[in-house]
């Protein structure tokens, strides 16, 4: 079994503001996704707040970098046999319904 990190990327200021009814649909999609892949979803993860501190060469600046076209909005940890299976899990992740969102799938080294 291999672990994969799903990084959810979206534009820095998404125009998409879901309505309450759409939120309820998204909630149902997440619940269904977690249930369907409960063997694969090791850690459903969390969302990340906007803004960051960047530490480089001992200096701290405010992030994300202004030129960033996407920011990381959240993450999950998935465990499957193959990358293809991980992609299948990602394909059904409710994040894909968010306009302009990208799921970056990264295999963990397993140190």
């Amino acid at each position: 079994m291999t672990k994969y990190l799903f990084l959810y990327r979206n534009p820095p200021s998404p125009d998409f503001q879901p309505s309450p009814e759409q939120m309820q649909q998204m909630f149902a999609q997440w619940t269904a996704w977690k249930e369907k892949f409960k063997a694969q979803v090791v850690d459903v993860g969390d969302g990340l707040k906007h803004g960051a501190k960047l530490l480089k060469d001992g200096k701290v600046t405010d992030g994300p970098l202004p030129e960033a076209k996407e920011i990381i909005g959240g993450y999950s940890v998935i465990q499957t046999e193959t990358i293809e299976q991980a992609i299948e899990v990602a394909r059904e992740c409710p994040i894909v319904y968010m306009p302009d969102s990208v799921i970056e799938i990264r295999e963990m080294m397993g140190f």
């Binding site: 503001q17 879901p18 309505s19 309450p20 009814e21 759409q22 939120m23 309820q24 998204m26 909630f27 997440w30 619940t31 977690k34 249930e35 409960k38 979803v41 090791v42 850690d43 459903v44 993860g45 969390d46 969302g47 959240g74 409710p94």
Partner: protein
């Protein structure tokens, strides 16, 4: 580990439209605490609280009392943004002085003391005197029913831009200080409530009709508007000051319409006329509730348009068959309705009932006397009624002309399909009923 797999964590499920209805509940509660003048901040705070709930609950599961969770998050959001605004306005202030000012302000001079329920009061607030009916409806759909701009636009068949405009006009009315409103200060309390109650009833009625009358292909979203109207109507019935006979009559007519909702469709996207409907498929419990409401409505002297409309529906609901309908009663109810609420549509309906009672010629005679306003003679139901009555008389050529016009201006496919069948029957020389 995901919490859904953790032992001992109860997984609560959310009822349908939970987020949308919580939007309305939260706005109403926060308006009580922070006044309508803060409506922008309140709506933002509610939206943010719901978004937070979505991420937190999607990952960790729904808490035991989701409404309480949301109330406290939304309330803190409002306090935070008031604090931020103050800090931005006046420079840094000590946390302590901000807290003191954030205590709920004394209640507004109007309505606040008169109506205890937050959402019912909000419904009255949405019926601002300075707004027209569509403005009130849009405001209620946003603030009480939790629909977003694009959802309102799709439901009322108006542009999103238009909804935006109506909403911002509505919000700016809400933000005006209540104390500055002389019309309220100078009106005695009981009259204030009753004059606005009429606007509240007519907004609910309008909302219901948007759902019921527009027979668009998308039945579920139409039904949703009817359900919202009934939900708001129930708020009126739960409180002594607003549960007047008119409010009961309004609920009676909504219940009896909705009870026959499903039987209007043939299951293949087609529409069924009243006489084609399967009366056994009508929701008997709903009809019973409607008739009970009508009993409550019968108290007192007043006979409103809602009474008349509900009474017509009751006649249809209690008639064992289409043929056994008491058309004479219905004709006289439409007469009463016309007296209270003059409208050529009521005349049109009366003509249809009269034709059932005394034959197509009687109906056509009434229409001929009616002198319709110019918009009505181009109205598809006007043409359809003529087409049908003429067909039954065997005047097929004239009937066809009317049916062709009705088909041209029919707003939905479903109606057009019904009319085309009628047109074909004229071509076949078929004057029979049904």
């Amino acid at each position: 580990m995901p919490e859904s797999n953790a032992p001992g964590v109860a997984q609560h499920v959310l009822v349908d439209h939970f987020f949308r209805h919580e939007y309305g509940r939260l706005v109403a509660t926060l308006v009580r605490l922070f006044r309508t003048s803060q409506i922008d901040i309140i709506e933002d705070a509610v939206q943010t609280a719901l978004a937070k709930a979505l991420s937190a609950w999607a990952r960790g599961g729904v808490p035991e009392n989701p409404s309480a969770w949301l109330t406290s998050v939304a309330k803190n959001n409002v306090l935070d943004s008031i604090r931020r605004h103050r800090t931005a306005d006046k420079g840094a202030e000590s946390e302590l002085s901000v807290r003191a000012q954030d205590a709920p302000e004394p209640t507004d001079p109007v309505l606040w003391g008169e109506i205890a329920d937050d959402q019912l009061r909000m419904l009255f607030v949405c019926c601002e005197e300075g707004l027209n009916e569509q403005g009130r409806l849009v405001l209620a759909l946003k603030l009480l029913c939790g629909f977003a701009t694009h959802e309102i636009a799709a439901r009322l068949f108006i542009s999103e831009d238009n909804v935006h405009k109506l909403l911002s006009r509505g919000r700016s009315h809400l933000k005006q200080a209540w104390s500055a409103r002389e019309e309220w200060a100078n009106t005695p309390k009981p009259e204030r409530l009753s004059s606005r109650l009429q606007s509240v009833q007519s907004v609910i009625y309008l909302l219901f009709n948007e759902g019921y009358s527009s027979l668009v292909h998308d039945a579920p979203i139409r039904r949703e508007l009817c359900d919202e109207a009934i939900r708001l109507g129930q708020l009126l019935l739960q409180h002594p000051a607003t549960s007047t006979p008119e409010s009961w009559a309004l609920m009676a007519l909504m219940e009896m319409h909705v009870a026959r909702f499903a039987s209007r469709h043939d299951g293949q996207g087609g529409l069924l006329m009243l006489e084609e409907q399967d009366r056994l498929a009508w929701d008997k419990a709903g009809i019973h509730r409607g008739l009970e409401c009508l009993l409550h409505a019968a108290q007192g002297e007043n006979f409103s348009r809602y009474h008349a409309e509900a009474a017509v529906l009751a006649e249809h609901c209690i008639a064992p068959t289409f043929q056994q309908t008491r058309w004479d009663e219905i004709v006289s109810l439409y007469e009463m309705l016309e007296a209270r609420q003059p409208s050529p549509i009521h005349t049109l309906n009366r003509a249809i009932a009269l034709a059932e009672w005394k034959g197509p010629q009687a109906g056509l005679d009434l229409l001929r006397q009616a002198k319709p306003p110019s918009w009505l003679s181009g109205y598809y139901l006007w043409d359809a009624t003529h087409g049908e009555l003429l067909r039954r008389q065997g005047a097929f050529e004239e009937a066809q002309r009317y049916w062709l016009r009705a088909i041209e201006s029919a707003p939905t496919k479903a109606e057009r399909a019904v009319f085309e069948k009628k047109l074909a029957r004229c071509a076949d020389g078929d004057a029979s009923r049904g």
